[in-house]
């Protein structure tokens, strides 16, 4: 009897469509989405982290029945560099029979891939890539869910006006601000944004100091700052230079009242590990991280739990949540178009889609303007407190009040 039972099972596995007939017909109805991230090469670490967020979104949605009754399938390509981003997008769209593209963690990769996609008049739904250019090229088929780079600068200026200046008993236009940045395309573009934001916010920008992120010594940056005597220093740094700046600020006794980073090196746990208690009080504007008001971020707990279950460790950074929230928005819109990806149907549905802030796993809302820019997504102000990067401003996502702590003093 046992033997017979085993044989029946074996036979059913061999005969195509035996007991699993239903699976086949469902496979034919899968909703195919082109997904690109760098999961090898120099950007692999956070590229992979972002892709995990996208993957969790797909798995969770499929468990709930998919989109418009269909299961979602990712047609994935690894894009370690800009050339790969172009050629792989081309390949997915022509041979992979994909009608919509998403990704891509890095702005440079996403810009290249979206150029290819939008020229074919297909939808590029950018879930990660903060460059302002995404929505400045006049394409009607691009949508970007994460906040634009200019919002990082805007948030910093607003924070100075609303919180920092009153704390220091100063008017916002009396604050002396210095901006230091690593001199690659990334740092320079943030610098241009900050200059604009400072001008618009009537904040006194006393100096803008570029430096090479590869330098062995950044004492000249600190000495320049000592000369300019700013109250606040805003910085854009990668990993090693953020640490070096911190160490040399302390060595050379830099005397300022607040230090605000722009994500990047100032968000990394390695920054905290290298500087220890010296990071206490350093402010930082970034994507939503995990020390945040969970009530403002419904679904974040579930996301973290699923992440741990799928990858056996907690999420590495807010990049995964960023892609997760972006993909959820895409699926919500596709639900409304019943899976139709034709720009003629998708664009009106996307423009009509609304999710107020405080209703997604990282607190961002979704509302696109006519350029495809999400105007309800904002980066938040965080602060290093007792070795943790804690959200402190604005009130909604904050778990703690910001505190005035003299930077690099401990």
């Amino acid at each position: 009897m046992k033997k017979l039972f085993i044989m029946v099972i074996l036979a059913s596995l061999l005969v195509p469509g035996g007991f699993m007939g239903k699976g086949d017909s469902r496979a034919a109805e899968k909703l195919r989405v082109g997904v690109i991230y760098p999961i090898s090469g120099p950007m692999a670490l956070l590229g992979e982290e972002s892709f995990r967020g996208a993957e969790i979104s797909r798995v969770m949605r499929n468990n709930k029945g998919g989109v418009a009754g269909k299961q979602i399938e990712y047609v994935f390509a690894d894009i370690p560099d800009v050339n790969a981003a172009k050629s792989e997008t081309e390949r997915l769209l022509s041979q992979g029979k994909v009608k919509i593209m998403t990704g891509a963690y890095s702005s440079s990769l996403g810009l290249a891939a979206s150029e290819v996609t939008c020229r074919k008049n297909l939808i590029y739904f950018s879930v990660e890539g903060i460059a302002d250019q995404f929505v400045e090229r006049g394409y009607k088929t691009i949508f970007a869910t994460d906040p634009r780079a200019k919002l990082f600068s805007a948030a910093q200026v607003k924070f100075m006006q609303q919180w920092l200046a009153p704390q220091l008993n100063m008017k916002a236009n009396e604050l002396r601000v210095s901006f230091i940045h690593e001199d690659s395309a990334y740092g320079s573009s943030v610098a241009r944004n900050f200059e604009k934001a400072a001008k618009a916010g009537n904040v006194k920008l006393v100096s803008v100091i570029p430096y090479s992120p590869k330098a062995v010594d950044l004492s000249s940056v600190i000495l320049n700052l000592r000369k300019d005597k700013p109250d606040v220093v805003v910085a854009v740094s990668y990993a090693a230079d953020a640490v070096l700046l911190g160490r040399q600020s302390k060595e050379l006794g830099l005397d300022i009242k607040a230090f605000i980073g722009n994500g990047g090196g100032h968000s990394l746990t390695s920054f905290q590990e290298a500087l220890g208690p010296t990071t206490e009080g350093i402010l930082n504007v970034d994507f939503t991280q995990f020390e945040v008001n969970y009530e403002f971020c419904p679904g974040l707990k579930e996301f973290v739990a699923t992440y741990k279950q799928m990858y056996n460790k907690p999420p590495l950074s807010g990049h995964s949540t960023c892609s997760f929230v972006g993909m959820n928005a895409l699926f919500d819109i596709l639900e409304k178009t019943k899976g139709d990806m034709d720009p003629k149907v998708f664009r009106p549905a996307a423009l009509a889609h609304e999710l107020p802030p405080g209703k997604s796993a990282n607190g961002w809302g979704v509302k696109f303007n006519e350029h495809g820019e999400n105007i309800w997504a904002d980066p938040f102000m965080m602060q290093w407190r007792d070795g943790k990067l804690v959200t402190v401003w604005p009130k909604g996502p904050a778990v703690m009040e910001p505190k005035l702590i003299k930077p690099f003093s401990k």
Binding site: I209, Y211, V243, R247, Q248, E251, S270
Partner: protein
């Protein structure tokens, strides 16, 4: 005035760092005339070894030097025996290509093993600074400076007064002649490369307390090291040390008084100008010596 002195102090300390990280190259390239583009990668290996010893068993880099240096010596000897020796008689160009290849292999191996993360260690000394009435002197950099002085001094004495040193210099000047005089050229070369690698390992351990290590760090340091060695004059220990100080001071002053973004451009402009006037470097041994052993 205090600012001016501070800039000078920072420049001299940075110069010491540059001298330290080029000390191995001074021997390998300056004396034995093997063009080694994988120099920075040896430094990277030294830094990673010292990092791993710190991260795994908490060994202070200033102590792990005594483990890192012998390890790098072994690596240097192996590289010389397996990679350089077979092409010893080939043109200098060939050695450039081979060591470039070696640099790419080592860098990518490191990327594979350690991934792109930046690793730093936190010690009490990492941010310690001595304060002399407003002038701050970074302690780990001061130690690196002291190490540079000691190593350069030791190397100078070794080359000048010991038999091995004389053999090294003889091989550099004329390989066939040295061989005729009974010097075992291959062994001397292995020793030189091993010693150069070991000194580079020491430099790596001394750099670790105040810098980060990551797989591509070598390419930055290789360039600086070549500039320092060529500027000082090939084969001249005192010259290489002073060359390092020059670059450090130029970088510090131009960074503070012109712009931090232009400090590298400034020292390269000065480097080019000096070489136009004195091709043998600041302290070279006379016109034409820069090509000895390379042609």
């Amino acid at each position: 005035m205090i600012d001016f002195i501070q800039v000078a102090v920072s420049g001299i300390l940075l110069g010491g760092v540059y001298a330290l990280l080029s000390v191995g190259l001074t021997l390998i390239f300056g004396v034995v005339r093997i063009i080694n583009f994988a120099h920075g990668e040896l430094l990277m290996i030294g830094m990673y070894l010292s990092y791993l010893l710190f991260a795994s068993i908490g060994l202070n880099p200033y102590l792990s030097v005594f483990l890192v240096a012998p390890a790098l010596f072994a690596i240097g000897v192996i590289v010389q025996r397996l990679v350089i020796q077979p092409i010893q008689e080939a043109s200098a160009m060939m050695k450039v290509f081979v060591t470039c290849g070696l640099f790419i292999v080592l860098q990518n191996l490191a990327l594979m093993i350690f991934r792109g993360d930046y690793r730093t260690i936190q010690m009490d000394i990492s941010m310690a600074a001595l304060n002399f009435s407003g002038i701050s002197v970074s302690l780990p950099r001061l130690l690196a400076f002291a190490a540079a002085v000691l190593i350069f001094g030791g190397l100078y004495l070794l080359l000048k007064y010991t038999f091995i040193g004389k053999a090294l210099r003889a091989v550099a000047e004329s390989r066939p002649m040295a061989q005729l005089m009974g010097i075992r050229v291959q062994r001397v070369n292995m020793l030189a490369f091993g010693l150069g690698a070991a000194l580079t390992g020491i430099a790596g351990a001394f750099l670790l307390p105040f810098t980060s290590v990551y797989p591509t760090i070598g390419s930055i340091y290789t360039l600086v090291a070549f500039v320092v060695v060529v500027l000082g004059g090939l084969g001249n220990m005192v010259g290489a040390f002073l060359g390092g100080l020059c670059i450090g001071l130029i970088e510090s002053f131009s960074g503070t008084y012109i712009s931090p973004a232009l400090k590298e451009a400034t020292y390269f402009v000065i480097f080019i100008l000096i070489l136009l006037v004195r091709p043998q470097g600041l302290f070279g041994m006379g016109k034409g010596t820069e090509e000895v052993g390379l042609k």
